[in-house]
Amino acid sequence: MSPNILAILPELILTLTGILVMMAEPCLAPATSRKPLGWIAIAGTVAALASSWYQIQFGTIHAFSGTIQVDAFSVLFHFIIGAVVLVTLLGSLDYFQGHATHAGEYYALLCFGSVGMMLMTCSVELLMVFIGLEISSISTYIMCGFRKGQATGSESSIKYFLLGSFATAFFLYGVALAFGATGSTNIYAIAHGLQTTATPYLAFTALALILIGLGFKVSAAPFHVWTPDVYQGAPAPVVGLMSTAPKAAAFAVLLRITFTGFPIYQHRWSVLMWVLAALSMTIGNLGALQQRDVKRMLAYSSIAHAGYLLVAFTAFPFDGIAAACFYTATYAAMNVGAFAVITQISGYEERARTIDDYTGLGQKRPFLAALLGFFLLSLIGIPFTGGFFGKFYVFTAAIHGGNIWLAVIGLLNSGIACFYYLRLLAAVYTKPGTEASARLNQLRPISVSAAVGLALAAVATLALGILPNGAVSFAEFASHSTLIEQGRQQCAASPDNCHLQLNFDDR
């Protein structure tokens, strides 16, 4: 197989799936269920995941003239994104049932969106990153407004769209300046160019602007302002997706740009990351404290989690990348799981919005409640869940890098965080008192597909907490692969002064 095809195999499959869905959609009678389309999308996603697995055995693949680089790092993020999309799809099958005629487009958009995200993670060319970013962004903009006729839905959509484009402009500006500073938009070329650049301040500015743009995408404070509103208005499965998959992709890009593209300025950007991390954690958690709306609360929570993830950027490269990879995986698993539960509970009609609406869930739907509780506990960071080990891993890396106080801030924040997660949890498990929760009685029994999706997320969260060894090794492998590739590229760029040691195990 040509390396070009091989390198974009998952993306290719997903694109084709998307097109297939689009083409199949008109073939279905207008009033019939759109579930078959969903199943096509699911099949495609599974195939994409499998193909990503297939990629891994080829080591690092460079394709399309160095535009993309499929290494362990990319594959890891492919997995994360693919898995998130899979869970979202499984959970969405029933979501649109009987409500919207455009479910088909939804599946297609999911496929296309994930193509964009996956491309982001494996591209080392900023142009490619930009295109990927736009694909994923635009598809999420659209999906945010999918509950049509709902004022909140379209409001969420327009807010996300306008502010997202606003931030994209910053990102582009940063890319432009990076291009100006180094004459290239390839990450390795940038890294190489920075060593000899005559305009370091231009480079700083470039990085800052890129960080602003990506910071927006990962909803790091102070670029988080859009998050609560958008999450609140968007349909639950979409929030589950957009709070994890595009974020993971954006983090992948961020990791590549910072650690691979701008490694020589780490002393500068790690300070910035320190501040962003501390701010995100604090603002996210404080903001969530008094939220009544569950999705809004989880939006703040996702801001806080972005903060925890940013902590990893202050660590040494090897630790940092590994920790960030691992944390992204755990975060994706637990957050998409939580939203999958919420999808099941609230449904298209948004039956349950506020915390009070969840009162008594524990009695009415014990399994859903237990799963929600489990995901919430993982988000808190309770041991034997992925959230705990992820946090542990990130803070280990940070402390190893000497950032003890950041770790203190972070862990204190996780204490504050308990407060609001527990409030939801407590509501779930207290006796139903008010008629507010009566709407829960309309809950449909949960379908097999949704159950499979939930189980997938739960098993992943649990496995990442109890037996994280495999995932940790994978994350370290990913970290390793990027750093090795970085070293190799540096050697290739300037063979004369190549004294790099490629043995990154020796920490």
């Binding site: 998307g18 964009g116 295109i131 598809s139 659209i142 301040y201 500015t205």
Partner: protein, 168 residues
């Protein structure tokens, strides 16, 4: 020549941008934006990007702005009301915008020597044209982005259809 073009069309662009800012009717703003784009097209040309200059006129001014105007007309948008929905935009946003400008200018000015100057007519030797070089790069080195853009456009079409379609 270079300087003249820069000054004339630079001022025109800024004026257009300011006009966009100050005009209260969307149509006027849209037309101001067209002015900006046209000015920029000239500047592109002066920087040796003939293809882009053309694309700017055709795609941006021609297609996108027409689309804007079309929607303005469609929605029958009148003059915008001066509502006061946000104090933060003034108290926080303007200082922010000003600070961004100052910081960027500071950086550009402090690096101005390293950045050098322009010369009219482009930089390429005259053996190959600008367009052919662009196409070479576009279809070799940057083939994948080009291809993937199709997905982007597909998504956009899909989205536009879904969002703008009336529910039955």
């Amino acid at each position: 020549m270079q300087l003249a073009l820069f000054i004339i069309f630079g001022v025109l662009a800024v004026a257009g941008a300011l006009n966009l800012l100050l005009q209260r009717h969307p149509i006027n703003s849209a037309l101001s934006l067209v002015v900006v784009m046209m000015s920029l097209a000239v500047l592109y040309w002066s920087l040796g990007a003939e293809f882009l200059a053309a694309a700017q006129v055709i795609v941006y001014s021609g297609a996108i702005m027409v689309f804007f105007v079309f929607v303005i007309m469609l929605l029958n948008a009148g003059e915008e009301e001066r509502t006061t929905g946000s104090r933060a935009a003034y108290l926080v946003g303007f200082p922010g915008a000003a600070a961004i400008f100052c910081l960027l200018s500071f950086v550009f000015l402090s690096e101005r020597r390293a950045l050098g100057t322009t010369n009219i007519g482009g930089y390429l030797n005259h053996l190959t044209s600008n367009i052919s070089e662009i196409s070479t790069v576009l279809f070799t080195k940057l083939l994948l982005p080009f291809e993937v853009t199709s997905v982007l456009i597909l998504v956009a079409i899909l989205g536009a259809v879904v969002l703008a379609r009336k529910e039955q």
